[in-house]
């Protein structure tokens, strides 16, 4: 699905990603944990194509394509989806209009016809149910005035609508109440198949109780310093990052 090799990225002259290696195969769920500021969101932004970052070294192959050469929109059209840690409010653009444009531009890229309005609305209905998103939110402006939790639900709703091959969920659990967490996680699980993959960025085991990862990676100071199975997350939750910090401080 995606293969990240020795990825370095910086902003200005500050290097944030310092040699990331990660291999995610179809059907897998990977969790990325790590202290604040370690570069988790930066990694997801770089993968999604945010232009603020300079990739200085390394390569990323996404389903056989050189991901770093693609525009952000083409990455999305190729099936990459980023659920933003901080979803953006876009006053004046309705959720529905936004998604219709997205769905149709993705279809166009793949040489498909526009989706008939009727089918589209049926899809909106079906997928908003998946994350129990209030139907009213679909007609409102994108994220405008949404509560923190509603914004996160809206991200997963969009994911459901666009049906990506690789979804990167950047702290989708933060800001969700206990019920919402379950609903969103169940939604994500329902979207899982042997043909797609998920990278879950989180600070808490809670989410991983629902979305059970095949692999857990610890990101620290721009590198993946430790990888393991789902038990690594439990271990981190119990012990915190002190040990890791001590061990890798020197390598700064």
């Amino acid at each position: 699905m995606i293969s990240i090799k020795n990825l370095h990225a910086s902003i200005g002259d500050k290097e944030i990603l310092r040699g990331i290696n990660l291999e995610v195969k179809a059907g897998e769920v990977h969790a990325i944990m790590g202290p604040n500021g370690s570069g988790k969101s930066t990694l997801s932004s770089v993968l999604a194509g945010r232009e603020d970052y300079d990739v200085t070294e390394g390569e990323v192959t996404f389903n056989g394509k050189n991901l770093l050469e693609l525009s952000p929109e083409d990455r999305a059209r190729e099936g990459l989806f980023l659920a933003f840690q901080y979803p953006v409010e876009i006053p004046g653009v309705s959720n529905v209009n936004f998604l219709r444009t997205a769905v149709n531009e993705i279809r166009k890229y793949h040489g498909q016809e526009e989706m008939p309005a009727k089918d589209f609305l049926a899809l909106v209905k079906e997928k908003s149910k998946l994350v129990e998103l209030d139907a009213k939110l679909a007609s409102r402006s994108v994220n405008e005035g949404f509560s923190g939790g509603e914004k996160k639900r809206n991200e997963i709703f969009q994911m459901a609508m666009l049906n990506p091959k690789l979804a990167i969920l950047d702290e989708t659990d933060s800001g969700l109440d206990i019920d919402a967490l379950r609903i969103v996680a169940t939604g994500v699980n329902k979207l899982k198949s042997k043909d797609n993959a998920t990278i879950v960025i989180t600070h808490y085991q809670r989410l991983l109780d629902y979305i059970v990862p095949d692999f857990v990676h610890i990101l620290y100071k721009g590198r993946i310093v430790k990888s393991g199975g789902k038990e690594l997350a439990l271990e981190m939750e119990a012990k915190g990052y002190d040990e890791i910090k001590k061990e890798f401080e020197i390598a700064d």
Binding site: S71, P72, E73, A76, I90, V93, E105
Partner: protein, 429 residues
């Protein structure tokens, strides 16, 4: 520096000579008005950028550069020429090169509505002319008064509500450089109501300097809703003056949509002359190429308990320039005034310019006034978010600009005009 040191009067003098050579006598305009108009024009001269109100709109330079010789050679128009400019749900009235054209206009008998050309005015109606737009206030009003053409007179009689919008189509068409001084007078009598759409077009092959003056008088407890739609293209240089007086308990609103014009200067002056009245001025423009769009508003709160609201938005692309200058006067007697003004702009290129200047002069103490301006680039965070969902750069920009403009386009409540404006707006993006 050029050799021309101060040829302000030379440009004005040349224009006067050109126009005098090519114009015939205007029977309906009193001689005294014409004489004083010419005097004011000569005194003031066509304004250049040294004039405070025309800092970003050097009309003198335009006339010197583009209208050295003015031939006033116009095209005759037929129904076929204007068919596409009409609106379905309105009574379409046509003004060609400044003159009301009855043959091209739709004839409809509507109770309480008078439509006639200025040279058909009765002597009492004639006294209304120049009662609002005064030659001594602005050289362009003077120019229009001195060389005015046979425009429209509209009157809504007391107590009548006109059931459908009136659409005045101003269409210019000339085959050589021309200066067109279109004028009209709109009188909404007490307790009357009307919606008027004014659309401006240029379908000729030569450059036109269009100097439009509209006097609008709203009597007590009346309502005048106007939509101005400007799409004159790059052969057109236009100054549009609306001189409006609103009396007690009345409501005036205007939404101006400017989609093209090499130079468009709008002077929208509203006097709130009675208590408890409202004025709403809205504007949306999109400027491309080297176009200059300049909105000047003046709201003169003379009496207490009135409200004014202004919302202007602009998008400047390429090497274009957009200007918003909003003056608000709150006179000593205008206690309990509420005046709001907002101007928001988006710069789409590094070579585009936006100038904004709110000017509040408040002489009463119990008033609420606020103003705000903002000029920025398109929101890159929002742009990235849209792109991250597979939406291409161009569509993403369009979505954001539509969102920006939407609140103003939505103020056009006439469905076919709304559609039309939206369509042309999207095309201009």
């Amino acid at each position: 520096m050029s050799l021309v040191v101060d040829n302000k009067s030379a440009v004005t003098q040349n224009l006067l000579e050109q126009l005098q050579k090519n114009s015939s006598k205007i029977a309906f305009m009193p001689d005294t008005e014409i004489i004083s108009a010419i005097r004011h024009l000569e005194e003031k001269g066509i304004p250049n950028n040294k004039h405070e109100d025309y800092k970003y709109c050097n009309l003198e330079a335009v006339l010197r550069k583009e209208f050295k010789s003015v031939e006033q050679s116009f095209n005759e128009l037929t129904n076929a020429d204007i068919a596409s400019l009409k609106l379905d749900e309105a009574i379409n009235l046509v003004v060609v090169n400044g003159n009301y054209n009855e043959a091209l206009s739709e004839k409809m008998i509507v109770k309480g509505l008078t439509v006639k050309s200025l040279n058909e005015l009765s002597s009492s109606e004639k006294t209304l002319l120049c009662s609002q737009a005064k030659s001594d206030t602005d050289a362009l009003i003077a120019l229009n008064t001195a060389f005015t053409s046979n425009g429209l007179f509209l009157e809504i009689e007391k107590g009548n509500v006109i059931p459908m919008p009136l659409h005045i189509i101003y269409v210019n068409s000339s085959n050589s450089h021309s200066v067109i001084n279109t004028r009209n007078f709109i009188h909404v009598q007490a307790n009357a109501e009307v919606t008027i759409v004014e659309s401006f077009h240029n379908i000729g092959t030569a450059k036109v300097f269009s100097n439009f003056v509209s006097e609008k008088l709203v009597d007590e407890n009346a309502k005048l809703t106007c939509h101005t739609f400007q799409n004159e293209g790059t052969l057109s240089y236009s100054v549009n003056t609306n001189q409006v007086k609103v009396n007690k308990h009345s409501n005036y609103s205007n939404t101006t949509t400017t989609l093209s014009g090499e130079l468009v200067r709008n002077n929208h002056n509203v006097v709130l002359a009675g208590s408890n009245c409202e004025a709403h001025l809205n504007g949306l423009f999109i400027a491309t190429g080297t176009q200059q769009i300049d909105n000047h508003t003046l709201i003169d709160h003379q009496m207490p308990h009135c409200e004014s609201n202004e919302l202007y938005k602009g998008i400047a692309k390429d090497k274009s320039t957009g200007t918003f200058n909003g003056k608000i006067f709150v006179r000593k007697d205008a206690q309990k005034t509420n005046a709001y003004q907002s101007s928001k702009n988006i710069l789409m290129s590094d070579d585009a310019t936006i100038n904004t200047k709110p000017q509040l002069e408040i002489y009463a103490d119990d008033v609420k006034c606020s103003h705000g301006t903002s000029t920025g680039k398109i929101d890159t965070e929002a742009l990235f978010y849209l792109k991250a969902r597979g939406i291409g750069e161009e569509s993403a920009r369009k979505l954001l600009l539509q969102a920006f403009a939407q609140e103003l386009i939505n103020k056009i409540e006439i469905p076919s005009l709304h559609e039309h404006a939206l369509h042309l707006f999207e095309k201009a993006l």
